[in-house]
Amino acid sequence: MNPYLVLSLLLFLVGTTGFIVKKNVLAMFLCVELMLNAANLAFVAFARDLGQLQGQIFVFLVMVVAAAEAAVGLAIMIVLYRRRQTLNPDDADTMKG
């Protein structure tokens, strides 16, 4: 098994676990970034394995997407922080049931 893939899997697991464990929306978003990068790593690794260039190009696309996501996400967090003065995701529970 390709060690890069193992690393990628670990990264992915860290990201998912962190997303559930962390109590700060920023940290959670960072975990998502970890997951995205795990995918990036996998793409690169696979591309190397397959001897293709395609996979490596995908990584750039994903990075762009991640950047856009970050922009949108931060904006949303800021709005919430302004209204609530908190970044704890558990405080956003007005709607439930």
Partner: protein
């Protein structure tokens, strides 16, 4: 002529009923009287004409059947609207219309002051219609129509005074108890259809008689016996035999003319008529005949004993009716079908007379029915007294009144048929009959007046006494048409013979006329003994009755309480059934099980919704955990559980 117009016979009273019932409320009483009594009179005339026409035929041809239309036809099941006039139905028709007409006339006076006059006569006419339909029906199903129809009229007429709860209850009880019998009847009819593929009397009995290999006289309980027993269940209901006798005494809540017509003379005898009509069938079912015999005897005896201890004049007569009906069934059970019909006819005369007389007494005493508050009426209402005396003697079986001939024939048939026990108990019952009947006569007409202050007994109007006299004549002389063989020829039996030609008859032992005469003398002696005893107890020794009652307290109470059969039914059947329905079926099964299951299914889904609601806790991280869990499950499935 009449054979073509046979349909008119039931239809005339029906038209009378429709006219009085639908328009009567707006018509003056005279018009109602004219229509209703006229209709019954016309029916009587028609019946007479039919009878005469029948007589004009040779005995073998005395059977006129008319099919008017197919009433119900589905597949191989057909029931015709067919009428059958033969000697048996002709006799019944005459009795029904004759007594009916007399009682209609009587009712003019008796019901004069009633608001529901039109309603009463509408019901009475409807009753005549139903009864004629029952009697003239040419097949089982049409007979059932009449059968239920008379039940309905009985219900309506008992409940005529519907504002009195007792009357309302009695009406309902009569109908329901009758319905129980009717179920037996209809099941019997169904079995007839299944067995013979037909319902017409002529064809069914023809098949029985013509195919002895298929329908031999049965030693045990075969199909014929089953049919007979089922039909007999119907008869016990209609004719108030054990165990369905309980409704008839209560039925006395109806107006007295109703008691006379329906609950004494005609409707209650329908059971006897039906058994005799089915004689070809019954005669091949000895077990059923034995049942009929035993039930008849038991009923006769039981009712006679109860009659001894009743204080309501009409109830005494009601139990007397039950008892006499028992006699008729004894006759049928002993195979003496024509004797049963003979007694039916004479009984119709004298029992109607007794009831009308009782009505007259009650009328005279402004509604008093308790024998203990009567007495000494002999001179105040002489016509009533004398006519009732005739009837009492007749029912007691004193020679040469009508009851003597008919009852004696029954007792003789029991003996001759090889049932000595039945004969002895029958004789005893005859004695008891005389006893309770003269108890009534003595208590009502003799001794000191015991009625309340302010009541001035007076003789009834002529429209009421006229019928009394007419019936008294019939009661006195009616027996002569059926003179026993040792006094001449039994013309009644011979006349009925064509209707009973298909009856299966075993070997009849022959007895000498002298023996028969001796038996007759014995039964008169027993009756006289009964009258004498009544005289001793109720007239000669004041307070004698009280002493006997005190001495035999338990038995007296048992008799007075009518063997507590009603109470037994109430506890054994009515209450358990209501309890079962209310508590078990409705509350427990319907509400407790089915609805709870239905609502529970709903509730469990709602609670599932509640659980989901709880899981939807609004926390992002727990949502993510759900996604992860789902993902884990999917991956697990794909990696491990995949086969």
């Amino acid at each position: 002529m009449m054979t073509e117009l046979l349909w008119l016979l039931p239809l005339v009273p029906l038209a009378g009923a429709a006219a009085t019932g639908l328009l009567g409320r707006r018509l003056p009483k005279r018009a109602v009287t004219l229509v209703a009594v006229g209709a019954s009179g016309a029916a009587f005339v028609l019946a007479l004409a039919a009878f005469m026409e029948l007589l004009s035929l040779a005995p073998g041809d005395r059977r006129i059947e008319r099919e008017f239309f197919t009433w119900i036809a589905a597949g191989d099941f057909t029931a015709q609207a067919s009428l059958l006039l033969d000697p048996l139905s002709a006799v019944m028709t005459l009795v029904v219309t004759g007594v009916g007409f007399i009682i209609h006339i009587y009712s003019i006076g008796y019901m004069r002051a009633e608001d529901g006059y039109y309603r009463f006569f509408a019901y009475m006419n409807l009753f005549l219609f139903s009864m004629l339909l029952l009697v003239l029906a040419g097949n089982f199903l049409l007979m059932f129509v009449g059968w239920e129809g008379v039940g309905l009229c009985s219900y309506l007429l008992i409940g005529y005074d519907f504002h009195r709860p007792a009357a309302a209850d009695a009406g309902k009880k009569a109908f329901v108890v009758n319905r129980i019998g009717d179920v037996g009847f209809i099941l019997g009819v169904l079995l007839v259809f299944l067995t013979f593929g037909d319902l017409g009397f002529g064809r069914v009995f023809g098949k029985i008689a013509s195919d002895p290999s298929r329908f031999p006289p049965e030693a045990g309980v075969g199909v014929l016996t089953s049919i007979a027993l089922l039909l007999f269940v119907g008869a016990t209901g209609k004719s108030a035999q054990i165990p369905l006798h309980v409704w008839l005494p209560d039925a006395m809540e109806g107006p007295t003319p109703v008691s006379a017509l329906i609950h004494a003379a005609t409707m209650v005898t329908a059971g006897v008529y039906m058994v005799v009509r089915c004689a070809p069938l019954f005669s091949r079912a000895p077990v059923a005949l034995d049942v009929v015999l035993v039930v008849g005897l038991a009923t006769a005896l039981m009712a006679a004993t109860i009659g001894l201890a009743q204080t309501d004049i009409k109830r005494v007569l009601a139990y007397s009716t039950v008892s006499q009906l028992g006699f008729m069934f004894m006759a049928a059970g002993a195979g003496a079908f024509s004797a049963g019909i003979f007694h039916l006819m004479t009984h119709a005369f004298f029992k109607a007379l007794l009831f009308l007389g009782a009505g007259s007494v009650i009328h005279a005493l402004s509604g008093e029915q308790d024998l203990r508050r009567m007495g000494g009426l002999r001179r105040r209402i002489p016509v009533t007294f004398w006519t009732m005396l005739v009837a009492a003697l007749a029912i007691s079986g004193i020679f040469p009144l009508a009851g003597f001939f008919s009852k004696d024939e029954i007792l003789w048939a029991a003996w001759a048929g090889g049932h000595p026990t039945v004969w002895i108990l029958g004789l005893l019952t005859a004695g008891l009959t005389a006893l309770y009947m003269f108890r009534l006569i003595y208590l009502a007409f003799f001794g000191e007046p015991r009625h309340a202050e302010g009541v001035h007994p007076h003789e009834s109007p002529r429209s009421m006494t006229g019928p009394l006299v007419a019936l008294a004549i019939l009661s006195a002389a009616g027996g002569f048409i059926g003179l026993p063989a040792w006094l001449g020829a039994n013309r009644f039996a011979r006349f009925l013979e064509p209707s009973l030609s298909l009856v299966h008859r075993g070997a009849v032992p022959h007895f000498s006329h002298a023996l028969e005469f001796a038996f007759a003398a014995l039964s008169v002696a027993v009756a006289l003994a009964g009258i004498f005893a009544a005289h001793r107890i109720y007239l000669a020794r004041p307070g004698g009755a009280g002493r006997i009652a005190a001495r035999w307290g338990a038995i007296h109470r048992l008799l007075r309480d009518r063997y507590r059969v009603d109470e037994f039914y109430d506890r054994a059947v009515v209450r358990p059934l209501l309890g079962l329905s209310e508590r078990t079926l409705w509350q427990r099964v319907d509400v407790g099980v089915i609805d709870r299951a239905v609502n529970g299914a709903g509730a469990s889904i709602l609670s599932l919704g509640g659980i989901l609601r709880g899981m939807q806790n609004g926390l992002i991280r727990s949502y993510a955990a759900w996604i992860l869990a789902g993902m884990a499950a999917v991956l697990l499935y794909l990696s491990l559980l995949r086969s």
